[in-house]
Amino acid sequence: MQQPLELSTDRFLAAAAGERGIAFKQLLSQLKLAVKDDQLDAAAAALRRAALPSLDYTSARSLHGVLKRVRSGTRRVSPPVRLAILSGFSSKYLTELLELFLFAAGVDVEIYEADYGVFRQEILDPDSQLHAFRPKLLYLATGWRDLANRPEIGASTQQVRELVDRELEEWSRLWQTAHDRMTCQIVQNNFDLPPWRVLGNHEMRHPSSLGRFISLVNQSFFEQASPYVTIHDVDHLAASAGRWSWGDERYFHHAKIPCAPEYLVDYAHSAASVISALLGKAKKCLVLDLDNTLWGGVIGDDGLGGIRLGQGDGEAEAFQDFQRYAKGLQSRGVILAVCSKNDERTAREPFEKHTEMILRLEDISCFVANWDDKADNLRLIAEQLNIGLDSLVFVDDNPAERAIVRRFVPEVGVPEIPADPADFVRVLESHRYFQIASLGKEDLRRTDYYRANVARLQVRQSATDIDSFLASLQMVARIAPIESATLERTTQLINKSNQFNLTTRRYSSAEVQAMAQDPGWITRTVSLADRFGDNGLISVLLARVEGDVVEIDTWLMSCRVLKRGVEDLLLNDLCAAAIGRGARTVRGEFIPTARNALAREHYQQLGFARIRDESEHTWWELRLVDDWKPRTHHIQEAALDGAGSR
């Protein structure tokens, strides 16, 4: 039987607009009861699901109140991420909501918040509390009033250009100081244009207007901020809300709140989505239902000619636009999957034959059409794609299917899609499921990998033994220390990989860069190509040299290349480097998490001896003098481009 807390959460998530208030009240009282009864895990799970960007401000604060109680009763499993918030306005109203949404995204933070308006001093003064806090992430929550070089009306185009340059230079200096001293990643707000325009229609045209100046500064931030700075696009939030609705000067005058208070919720959700994407928590795969989700009507009943899709009919065009949006996501690296209650042949028919279909079979990395339970099918999809259930978002027009999925696979994101297909995109966008932290080239190619994986699986079925299969792949690897060109992808992997990750230690790009330059560390990345395509950078190893011991701090590998011999290749390379440094022993450790069970036997399989264990947490050792000889594999090493980097 379902618990009253789960039931009231489900009811709240599915409530129509007019019933949300009541549904929230019931949910809140159930949450408080659960906390009182010490059912903290259940309360935490319900909180994660109920924390939506569409909450009103007071309700979101109430959920934060519950979160505080849950927190005070739970022991932290892993150390929280240290997040410092420096602001030009009063961030206190934003911070609670930010904490709530980060929690909902699975990010546990410890927050340091400075008084508003002192962000420059906090960064520049090495004795400030900020420095003592040593943030991993620094959020600079500033607004247009913090721009120090605003032009006077009458300034020339050239003078304004110089002011924009000076503005960028001053902010860059702050970012660099923070980054150099604290090796932190930075999230920086851009500046929302005020709704009023003293130059009216010519605001964006006049050389010295405030609006044009702010736009130019925003543009220069986007184009010129350092890689360790992520620009949070607050101006887009203002524009989406409508600038006059977004701004409420009463609250700025009284309390230095940067926007109308009700928009703080969406503001915090947006900032949290950027921060959690930086920490590798963005969703990866969009799972789509078919009938009445990708087209109007039921393919099994209405047939190829009967479904509504394409030009000539309003609703049929709206379905097509939704497909176009999904295709856009796919082309930038979001994996698409299909989960439909249909006969497989019938379900595939529109993809193969309907001329108005935007999505084609090759866009879908995993196609599941059968009559089984959708919850089971989602588990199957996650398994086949080798990603976590919490990386999935499920879109289905049918409220009953959504309810089943929410109940049996609560890790999956299930937006409350409205009946009208013209609203699908808006609702999906509002959740910011697929937020991007950095513009990696790898993301744009991700679908190719998954498609190539299917081809590899087919070869594997035809090859009779594993050695001839591996040989037939004609693998070529490039193995090298971390370089500036691979820094971004390396950091991305460090923060994203969950499954084949021995220690799951997360590092900012600043920290990774520091290790790469430190002679006391051996760092390696492996890129792998085979006859089906280029897998890109797929493995990272970070090891510390301490006397005659090389201690492996981090070893991770993309699951796409599991059981291909990459670990043998990498160990050979590490041991050669270790011997070169006079080491006698290589040590490694396995820290268990909910996701990395498949790496548990890693060191044992590589011939390490277990030297210590504390429950599941194990320590391993390989003695280079006695135990080790190079391991065989089927991967050729590519010549390094550029000489002498090793």
Binding site: T58, Y251, H254, E262
Partner: protein
């Protein structure tokens, strides 16, 4: 007025996360633990949302000035809800 009082009391309980709060006309900011300027703003935000009203910039601070109490809030709110009365 009584209905407004009940609803306002509910808002107070929600904002202060305290289901024991009982409001009287004479209740002032000093009587409620935690009713500082930050919480005052949170109260104003919640009341505006609940009753779909808008306080003028001057009214927002006036409500917390010395000599004002829950009674003045209810009066102001009732006037906003029923301008013709």
């Amino acid at each position: 007025m009584e209905q407004v009082r009940d609803s306002v009391q509910e808002v107070f309980r929600e904002v202060f996360d305290d289901d024991e709060i009982v409001l009287h006309d004479a209740t002032t900011a000093g009587d409620l633990e935690g009713w500082d300027s930050l919480m005052h703003i949170n109260l104003v935000i919640a009341i505006e949302k609940r009753f779909a009203v808008r306080f003028a910039t001057a009214e927002i601070s006036w409500l917390k000035e010395d000599g004002q109490n829950v009674g003045s809030l209810l009066e102001l709110l009732t006037r906003k809800l029923h301008p013709e009365a």
